[in-house]
């Protein structure tokens, strides 16, 4: 068994709304990220994927639960105490333009992490060391050195995402949380960036938490998949198992909803009815029962917890589909 790099236990994130209401964006999520794997996180818009990703890196403060990184509890660490840890866990955001300061040159942006963190010997990096590292980074993500003198708005979305990746790699992290890094890109560019992620993982031995709503992207890159619905993980297992033989009705519906070039007669499931319920006022019992095609009365009363099924994956369902 590989080392557990990052481990979340009972992670919860509530947002307080006006009039005493509460939005539970992440609801009691527990998961482990193993060193060297790619954990895909899928789900519809608003299911809490991005919030979960930010909570995992403590970019958003979780309301409850604990986080362990490389065996150390980082839940209560102050921002200052967390700073050395941040070198080893990084984030790539969805909006490649918004995540780069428009008023700074690429070289300046990429050098920022190198300036604020000391090198491996605990010393400040000098100009020469920084410039050498910038040249490496630019090469690593497939950009040309003249990119360093330019501003973010001079690049296309795909190139900007390469810059974001280079910045995340600057400090040689072990873990990268990628929050929908390709969903804002053209389809033709998406494949390039996903391939870059895969290539970098192989070369640098990285670990990813790869958040996406596109199942094809997740299938291409992930070793394991966590499926989220209304803030909770409903199914977690090896990519092939989950995507080819879903155990949770929601996963199955999600796969059935993928548009295919050729319409097949034997569709897995009827498509879902209705909309996702509001996370401000989630349904009682199983959160999916309002839309579930196989729901029975018990589903409206008891909430199923995430539990292991025989083939090793975890499912939160009273009546998991036979794999």
């Amino acid at each position: 068994m590989a080392e557990t790099l990052l481990s979340a236990r009972s992670l919860r994130k509530d947002y307080r709304l006006p009039r005493g209401q509460r939005l539970r964006a992440v609801d009691d999520v527990s998961l482990d990220v193993h060193a060297g794997e790619v954990l895909g996180v899928v789900g519809e818009s608003g299911c809490g994927k991005s919030t979960l990703g930010r909570c995992l890196l403590r970019l958003t403060e979780a309301s409850a639960g604990s986080l362990t990184f490389e065996g150390h509890d980082i839940t209560g660490l102050s921002e200052r105490a967390l700073r050395p840890v941040r070198q080893r866990m990084q984030m790539v955001f969805q909006d490649s333009y918004a995540s780069l300061n428009p008023r700074r040159r690429i070289g300046d942006l990429l050098a920022e992490p190198l300036r604020v963190h000391p090198d491996a010997h605990g010393r400040r990096r000098d100009m020469r060391a920084i410039e050498a590292r910038l040249a490496e980074l630019v090469d690593l993500v497939g950009l040309t050195p003249d990119a360093l003198a330019r501003y973010p708005h001079e690049f296309s979305g795909g190139q900007r995402q390469r810059i974001n990746i280079a910045r995340a790699l600057a400090l040689s992290p072990r873990l990268i949380v990628a929050d929908e890094p390709v969903s804002a890109l053209d389809v033709s560019i998406q494949a390039q960036i996903v391939n870059l992620f895969a290539d970098l993982q192989a070369r640098l031995g990285l670990t990813y938490v790869f958040i996406a709503h596109d199942l094809a992207v997740v299938r291409q890159i992930s070793t394991r998949v966590a499926v989220m619905y209304l803030g909770a993980v409903v199914e977690l297992g090896a990519t092939d198992d989950v995507l080819h033989a879903p155990a949770h009705p929601y996963t199955s519906a999600l796969i059935a909803a993928v548009p295919e070039p050729v319409v097949r007669a034997d569709k897995l499931m009827p498509s879902l009815r209705g909309d996702v319920p509001s996370p401000v006022n989630p349904p009682p019992g199983c959160r999916f029962h309002t839309r579930c095609p196989v729901a029975r009365p018990v589903c409206g009363q008891d909430a199923p917890t995430l539990r292991a099924v025989p083939d090793g994956r975890q499912v939160a369902c009273h009546f998991p589909l036979a794999g």
Partner: protein, 333 residues
């Protein structure tokens, strides 16, 4: 190392180029420069052209017109020739625009008045922008209680009508002067209107700055910087501040225009620049009583105010367009 000429232009260089292409902005800059230059020439004009002291009453004086000595105060041309009116525009060196009710050269006073009006307006705008910048950035960046307290103070200042607030402040300061430790500010000190006007417009300027900082604080690139482990002070300095300067630069000419109007209003009400010093506001007040006989005394400074305010507003618009880096670059594609 690369030479700086091969670097792609930075956002400021792009903005200045965009501004230089905007004809309206260029004209505004030209008009403003002309106004400032003319005002700076005031002593030269008084000495060599009008040859009178614009701060001394000259009701008994005479002026040479075509070799004849003409009284500055002329009998009115009503049937009974009751009362006296100052001389009208002579159209030449001395008393070019006529005299005011104390027999002083209006043209020379207009230039001296421009010095005070423009100085007060720009100094007040500068001071205001600095204070509002501090308030807005602190409130926007720290949020929470700090923001709540600062915002409520701004709201209270905002709720009091600007002129009422300025009038109350200036009556206290102008009537008694101000003593802070060893320093005494007398009532005719220009610092008084400068400080009053600056304070009055702090909420006006702090609000957009605060909004911008709040948006930036929650922006993804600030989140990204936090994720990289960049300390807060550095984020404020390197990521937030450079993105707020645009907002501040755009505010500056608009604030200067507002300050100019406020200064004129206060001076008109005798609680700004104190006699015998001049500002465009005090000259309008001088012209108030002459509005039927010698309208130019009030109209000339009024026109000067209108021209400067208009130019500042056009310049503000041009700056806003020029500083939108993303907008201009995308438009090019």
């Amino acid at each position: 190392m690369r030479s700086s000429s091969s670097l792609p232009p930075g956002p400021w260089a792009v903005a200045i180029r965009a501004l230089a292409r905007d004809r309206a902005s260029l004209v505004s800059v030209g008009v403003l420069a002309l106004m400032v230059l003319a005002s700076l020439m005031a002593p030269l004009y008084a000495r060599y052209v009008s040859r009178t002291d614009p701060f001394l009453s000259n009701v008994a004086g005479q002026v040479q017109i075509d070799g004849r000595a003409v009284d500055i105060m002329q009998p009115n041309d009503n049937p009974l020739h009751l009362g006296l009116s100052p001389i009208g525009p002579t159209g030449r060196g001395a008393y070019l625009l006529g005299a005011d009710s104390q027999g002083r050269d209006v043209a020379a006073r207009l230039l001296y008045g421009g010095r005070n009006s423009l100085l007060i307006a720009s100094a007040a705008a500068l001071l205001c922008v600095v204070m509002a910048g501090v308030v807005g950035i602190v409130a926007g960046f720290f949020g929470g209680v700090v923001d709540a307290v600062l915002s409520r103070i701004m709201d209270i200042m905002w709720a009091v009508p600007v002129y009422l607030f300025a009038i109350s402040l200036s009556i206290v300061m102008v009537s008694q002067g101000l003593t802070i430790g060893p320093f005494t500010i007398t009532s005719d000190n220009l610092l008084i209107p400068i400080v009053i006007i600056a304070i009055v417009y702090v909420p006006y300027a702090a609000r957009p700055i605060r909004g911008r900082v709040m948006a930036l604080r929650n922006s993804e690139f600030v989140l990204a910087a936090r994720g990289l482990g960049v300390p807060s002070a550095r984020i404020l300095l390197r990521d937030i501040l450079p993105n707020v300067t645009g907002t501040i630069v755009v505010l500056a000419p608009l604030l200067t225009a507002l300050a100019l109007l406020t200064e004129s209003a206060l001076s008109f009400l005798s609680i700004g620049v104190q006699a015998p010093a001049a500002s465009w506001g005090t000259i309008i007040q001088d012209g108030e009583g002459l509005i039927y006989t010698r309208p130019l005394v009030a109209v000339a400074p009024g026109l000067a105010i209108v021209i400067v305010v208009l130019a500042l507003n056009v310049l503000g618009d041009g700056l806003r367009d020029a500083l939108d880096v993303r907008e201009t670059s995308r438009r090019g594609h």
